[in-house]
Amino acid sequence: MTAPSLGTARRTPRLPPVTQMGMLLRLLAVQGSWNYETMNGNGIGFCLEPALRLLPGGRDGEAYREALARQARYFNSHPYMASVAVGALARAELDLVPPTTIERFRTALTGPLGSVGDRLMWAAWLPFCSLLALAAFGLGAGPLAVVCIFLGVYNAGHLALRAWGLRVGWRHGLRVASALANPVLRTGPDVIARAAAVTAGLALPLALYRIIGVGRTLTGGVLVAVVLLALAIVRVRAKLEGWRTALAVLALLVLYSVVRHG
């Protein structure tokens, strides 16, 4: 483990299971000190720390302190995809790759890990799971079932991605870019977006009906109003966020109902 190498040229060394588990648990808190200066840089150092203890000299060694200082600097990525970076950087540090190479590698990782994670999780998987839960709600599922469906499905993907990222990062080291060409990461967002589109069509009328209560005519009228209002929001979206508009509209509704009482 101490001989210098660049990634996969030699047989993959083993990371002790306790260290792996420690890193995986810490990854859940990778954004614990997120800020506009160093982003999740300190979090990356925090997650790598258990692996860095394996460096020559252990926790009191010069190599440990130098590596930790290097890894706690600025870094930005999607929080779930940070596991890829943590795995790859741990491998590079334990392979005793020169610091300048590690720093260049760290900089190069930032962009891809951010965009891949945003497209896959925030723009596809999260809306899909959210719409799936709304569809279950619309079909009459109770509170426990809706919550379990949402959390179960979402976290199956979430935790699998974190665990995969750490494993693949460790296995490939500095050559981890090849792992980002994985078909799930490349075509997954489009496939999930299509599934989300079907689910959205299914969920919206059913969820509206359940929230409003009995009355199909009223639900039909609401659906027409929804389409017209949604088109209006799409047109002004660049200038105004929908939830801010909603805040104003609901405040007016509350005011109207109270004024009518007077």
Binding site: N35, T38, A123, P127, A197, G201, A246
Partner: protein, 227 residues
């Protein structure tokens, strides 16, 4: 709402607010979860779920992409679910008032998250020497302090929102004049329109997404008709 309820619901708001960004980002903070559990804490998970589903439609618009600023739905949805569940099921204005309270809280919560990030940056700057030395104590300390500060932030946001908005919501619900179904219809029109616009923005570039959406809509409407 009793002091014990406020403390319990605020603790829930703190934990779910922490989930938004800091730990563990398992989406416990999504409104459909947070409002349902908030309602359950006050004794009515079903009402909490209604508020949660409505807020979830709004939340589809504000996905936590990059370093963007967005409403903090975790603590806010707990407030919305708990407020709605505190009223009798027949109260016509409960849903609109709870949803309005939750959106306002989410707005304030989003602002507090920005302040927390500034605090974290200031703290990291002040511990620069320790970080440059590679001190594990400094790295772990920054992480633990950030997590603790976020937990306290979520608790305060929830507690202050509950204490400020519960009396106001009670007064408004008491004065509410509109029919319950029409009140809910108005709220859901706005929330579904926001969700629809968000979905359009997210998926319209995906090949076949429009046709698939329409296909799903036909199935959804058919299920509604033949119920």
């Amino acid at each position: 709402m009793s002091v014990a309820s406020v403390v319990a619901v605020s603790t829930l708001g703190a934990i779910l607010g922490l989930d938004t960004v800091s730990f563990p980002q398992a989406m416990l903070s999504r409104p459909i979860v947070a409002a349902t559990v908030g309602g359950a804490f006050v004794g009515d998970a079903e009402t909490g779920l209604l508020v949660g589903a409505t807020l979830e439609l709004f939340a589809l618009e504000s996905l936590p992409i990059g370093a963007s600023r967005y409403p903090e739905w975790g603590s806010a949805a707990v407030v919305g679910g708990a407020l709605a569940a505190a009223f009798p099921e027949s109260a016509a204005g409960a849903l609109p008032v709870a949803v309005l309270a939750a959106i306002a809280t989410a707005w304030v919560g989003g602002w507090t998250m920005v302040q927390l990030r500034k605090f974290n940056a200031w703290l990291a700057q002040s511990r620069r020497a320790g970080l440059d030395r590679g001190s594990a104590r400094t790295v772990v300390g920054l992480q633990v302090t950030g997590l603790t500060a976020d937990l306290v932030r979520g608790w305060l946001v929830t507690a202050i929102a509950l204490l400020a908005l519960h009396p106001l919501a009670t007064a408004v619900v008491h004065l509410w004049m509109l029919d319950g179904r029409y009140s809910r219809a108005a709220v859901v029109t706005v929330s579904a329109a926001v969700a629809g616009a968000a979905m359009w923005t997210t998926f319209h570039a995906t090949v076949g997404a429009r046709r698939l959406f329409l296909g799903g809509l036909v199935v959804g409407l058919a299920l509604l008709l033949f119920r």
